[in-house]
Amino acid sequence: MSASQSTAPHGKAPCVRRLGWRLIWRAAMVAVVLAAAVPVAAWLAYPYVLPVTGGLLVVDEPCGDFSHVLLAGGDHRFDIAAELYRENSSRRLVLIEPYPNRLVRNGIIPSFENICRCELKARGVPSEAVELIPGEVCNAWAAARLLRQWISDHPNARLLVLCNRFASRRQRSVLDAVLGPEDAARVFIRGLPDRRYDETNWWQSRCGARQFVFGSLALAYQWCRGESREDPQQWSPDDYERMLCRMVGDASS
């Protein structure tokens, strides 16, 4: 081994060590400062930051005049839909039936359509003003596809969608993805605030915080993955009951 070969690494090593330690020391200092500063900043800024984060989930679009109102969700939606009908009785209220869950299939609760018609009737909306778009949907994407077909069948319709306030950004995003730009421009979103909270105070109540988290996660999922591609699998209570009875029978015999 030559002299230059043997001395070069020994000459470089302290320099590398010094640089490494200096970087680690700086990183540690930055981490300590951040660890102290972030909670303090968050505590000072939360009255300003949290309403803004809540507002990111909300879409509330001015829509001018509209011919149809879709009841997709939201607090007081029946009251508001009935009020919009009374404002202009030529407006039609539109429903999209979700795929009936186990409670509906077993007759334990009425179907979505029956509930809506009953509530709207109780608020003075005649049944002929309520229109059901034929078909059952299992998620917001399927509903948007159904709506795309309906919009193309109603070329002059301008549609106002009433929905949960913290789901409104997601609703807009799904509609934009499924409808073309021309059709999407004929659909307007109104996010209805819950009577217990809205984007300005959601963190003060358990249900507000829960809805904010769910709204954020749903929006994040939709941005990252879009529509779920898996077939929804249904669990069978009858099979479960039979399995339990077999298990108990085997244990006792």
Partner: protein, 206 residues
């Protein structure tokens, strides 16, 4: 090594870790959901308690346990009502659970509504603690969705203290997703991720 090389090395390692995690998500993500599930096989008990929420599944499981003779009566906590319940649009949680139980063949006299007004798993645990004051030796099966059993067990252990041993948990399945595909289905993603957030909140004690 220069600072630029250090930065490059750190970024390369971080990128490799991210790519590795993404590539092996099929192996990494199912254990996340399996870890949340601490439900055991159903044992004989005096009561089965249905935790409010997911009435599409939980009361059906409770009814099956009663019909199989694994539990004698059903405990249903009373919950704080939601706006749509106040408006009379939907039935309250305890009424809905009662309807499912009766529909599945559980006699109404076997359904016991616990007093109180719960709005959380902690409230449900307190309702059970009150009940166990009057029935100190009772053994109870608690039915909830599989991803909720770990947090429920922690909360019940904290609230029930010495009586926690009288309670065991039965995992109800979920419609639409399983622990091995939860991240591919929106409902599964929401359920599992929000459950971890709630666990973190429980641990921090907010």
């Amino acid at each position: 090594m220069s600072r630029r090389r250090w930065c490059f090395l750190v970024l390369a390692v971080a990128a490799a870790v991210l790519v590795g995690v993404y590539m092996s998500r099929g192996y990494l993500l199912p254990p996340m959901a399996y870890w949340l599930d601490v439900g055991g096989p159903p044992r004989r008990a005096d009561y089965v308690m249905v935790l409010p929420g997911d009435a599409n599944v939980r009361p059906f499981v409770a009814a099956a346990l009663v019909k199989a003779g694994l539990a004698g009566r059903v405990l249903v906590p009373k919950t704080e009502s939601a706006p749509e319940v106040d408006d009379g649009i939907y039935p309250s949680s305890d009424e809905l659970i009662g309807r499912v139980l009766v529909h599945r063949g559980v006699p109404p006299e076997k359904i016991l509504i616990l007093s109180g007004s719960s709005n959380s798993t902690c409230g449900d645990a307190r309702a059970l603690a009150d009940f166990l004051e009057s029935s100190p030796g009772a053994r109870v099966l608690v039915v909830t969705n599989h991803y909720h059993t770990r947090r429920a067990r922690w909360i019940f252990a904290r609230v029930l203290k010495d009586r926690a041993g009288q309670v065991s948990f039965v995992s109800a399945p979920t419609d639409g997703f399983r622990p091995d595909n939860w991240w591919r289905v929106e409902e599964g993603f929401l359920a599992v991720i929000s459950e971890y957030l709630k666990l973190a909140r429980f641990i921090v004690g907010i």
